[in-house]
Symmetry: C2
Subunit: 417 residues, 2 copies
């Protein structure tokens, strides 16, 4: 028997609907880029909702928003729970926002039902996770965990040429008199999120208990050949960057299929120069995204694939440039917290599944700072980063019920040592 | 021994330099889009230069400019010679412009040396060939030969939303009181052009005698799969449009290499949707450009390749859409005129080479209207449609010398039957 009923948890839906009003787009999606007006409005709305729920609100220097329920034993640290408020362009209503709404619903329930906890709980709305405005993700959780500092902000520029520092200041953050983001007082971090994949849906699971967030390597590969007239350059005299890139992409796909699950490899962005039908492209730039739960396998696979790319380039007389754009190590969740989540689901008769997360999440930033756990609810057709993103109301509520149970365990019953 | 000396022909260089001043760009290139102010200034400059050379000038309804040297026997028709005044964006100084300058230099020399010809000669500056403003090429020669009419002009729109009709009228053309473009009085068309390829340069040729302008098929291929998260979608559950397109491009290249010269096949433009590093692209659109001198082989090759594309799409669960964007049949030059050019080069001890043109040219519009010939001069490194386009002054002059010899043959000595 769970402490929170589905009825009590159902309020998460209306909170999510209200959040979707900030930055709503004509196509039914949501766009809330970091430090934009819609972003700021959404944070202000949450601030008010947190206050209304009896939580003490606070922004840190980069704009992370916290709602605190003070516990009896301050020295025992804080149970942090939440997710991110920013979205991709024309994204869905659930990615990030659900984790905040679920945390607020759960903590609000715990406060009104059980009062002051033994250990403090904070609901967090991370300012940024997606990397959809600036070429940097996890700006919120990265500042909390010390991976990033505001000192980097003058160097990072959005497509309009605005620095992260300037954008932050224009939104009212980044001032020295504002509280630093780095936290040393965290006892645990628990995040709820939509799966953004089809695995729960296809296997009938209602809750996914994340064991590991996959490691991710991202590269920007530039293939340089020679721009030439498509009509007057015989095949044998070409140094065609498109043909070279196509061969590389085919090699990547074959290697990924051979490596098997859970490895995934994707070329999602390509840019040709000059990109004209009757001109052989002299330059192709493409991104390479590779993920796996094992750092060793990830390294081996990536090295082999990039080695093959070099061979292709050499044989074709092309130049190859490989820039590492992201290197996130696999992030294993805390086994004790994961075991607690499993026991909650098991005792509650909830269909659950231990799984990996192929997507990156704020949770991965916390694994070296404090015990971290993460749970998923199903995503319809696995669709995410799209206006089509959808999770059924009962699935949303069930995630809140499980989270509330977990937070009760951590903040009311147990004292971590 | 040639009639015109290299010294006499060298004036072509200064004429070209003056032309390059109209529409010159900061990067050293030239941009003269159809009916733009720089285009109009260049035509006016040429009109004055034609008049100064003793030619009778005239614009037709679409803005083709003619400079006529009247012959004794009007019933014998007109020897037309010239090329196009428009350029691609940030193009070179030679593409098109050289053919006009060479024709004007040659005809000016013939008039001042030999006086009135037996048959009339006209130097032409075609208003448009490149298709760089409107999505239609050969607007000038197409109107002269009847392939196009001004009736099409309201339907054709530039990227700014301006119709071809409106642009033409704004430049002072397209009026009913202006002479119609269609010509029924042509006895021959001779065009000189830069090669825009490396074949003359690599084989030591100074003059290329075109036997055939290759036929060209252009398609826009759309591959549709499913947009999905790059981290959460296992390889086996993907319908990745990029992977499918890469396989198609690899098949195309292999097939083209197997088919051998002179077939060329190019994918020069690609567009991914949504084109984001961590998202599997649901849609890829790419262009396919295939050229060969044989219509039969072109058809066979194209059908086979597109058939393979369909197989790839079917196996991968992708949708394939194939839109034909261009179908230009191979254009064989007149064998008698080609033979004359060969005899001129051979007798003059000029290193020449019979070759095909992989690029399209105004000449191909004339092949069904009148005997047509085309000759090339070398292009440094084969570079064209670029500020780097370059042909040495002596190569430019030699082209003029050969053209003058040819025009003398056609207009002063011979009467075609």
């Amino acid at each position: 028997m769970m402490r929170m009923t589905m009825e009590q948890a159902s309020g998460v839906t209306s909170l999510l609907e209200k959040l979707a009003g900030f930055g709503s787009t004509a196509d039914g999606g949501v766009t809330r880029l970091l430090y934009s007006p819609s972003w700021k409005d959404a944070q202000s709305f949450l601030e008010a909702a947190m206050s209304a729920a009896g939580l003490e609100t606070r922004y840190d220097r980069v704009g992370n928003l916290f709602g605190r329920l003070e516990g009896k034993r301050k020295e025992q640290g804080v149970i942090l729970t939440g997710s991110h408020i920013d979205t991709v362009r024309s994204g869905g209503r659930y990615d990030g926002a659900y984790g905040i709404a679920a945390s607020l619903a759960a903590v609000s329930f715990l406060r009104s039902t059980y009062g002051e906890p033994g250990r403090s709980i904070e609901v967090v709305s991370f300012c940024e996770e997606e990397g959809s405005r600036f070429p940097l993700a996890y700006w919120g959780s990265g500042n909390i965990t010390g991976a990033y500092t505001t000192g980097m902000s003058p160097l990072i520029v959005d497509p309009q040429g605005i620095t992260l520092e300037h954008a932050m200041q224009a939104a009212g953050f980044g001032r020295e008199d504002q509280p630093e983001s780095l936290r040393e007082d965290l006892a645990a971090f628990v995040e709820v999120h939509i799966e953004q994949g089809v695995i729960l849906e296809r296997t009938g699971g209602k809750v996914g208990i994340v064991e590991t967030i996959a490691g991710q390597r991202r590269y920007v590969i530039t293939v340089k050949g020679e721009t030439n007239h498509a009509g007057t350059t015989p095949m044998a005299m070409r140094r065609d960057a498109v043909a070279g890139a196509a061969e590389m992409i085919a090699i990547l796909e074959r290697a990924a299929n051979r490596a098997g699950e859970p490895l995934v490899a994707t070329v999602g962005r390509m840019k040709l120069l000059p990109n004209i039908p009757n001109v052989i492209a002299g330059t192709v730039e493409f991104t390479l995204d590779i993920r796996h739960i094992s750092e060793t396998l990830l390294t081996g696979f990536t090295d082999a694939v990039i080695g093959s790319f070099h061979s292709v380039a050499e044989r074709r007389g092309l130049e190859l440039d490989v820039q590492a754009a992201l290197h996130a190590r696999p992030a294993p969740m805390d086994p004790v917290l994961t075991g607690k989540l499993e026991k909650i689901c098991s005792d509650g008769g909830i269909p659950y599944r231990r799984m990996m997360s192929g997507a990156g999440h704020d949770g991965q930033m916390f694994v070296n700072r404090c015990p971290t756990a993460m749970l998923f609810v199903p995503s319809k057709d696995g669709i995410s980063h799209s206006p089509e993103e959808y999770t059924a109301a009962e699935d949303l509520a069930l995630g809140v019920v499980v989270l509330a149970e977990m937070l009760y365990d951590l903040a009311y019953e147990e004292i971590l040592t």
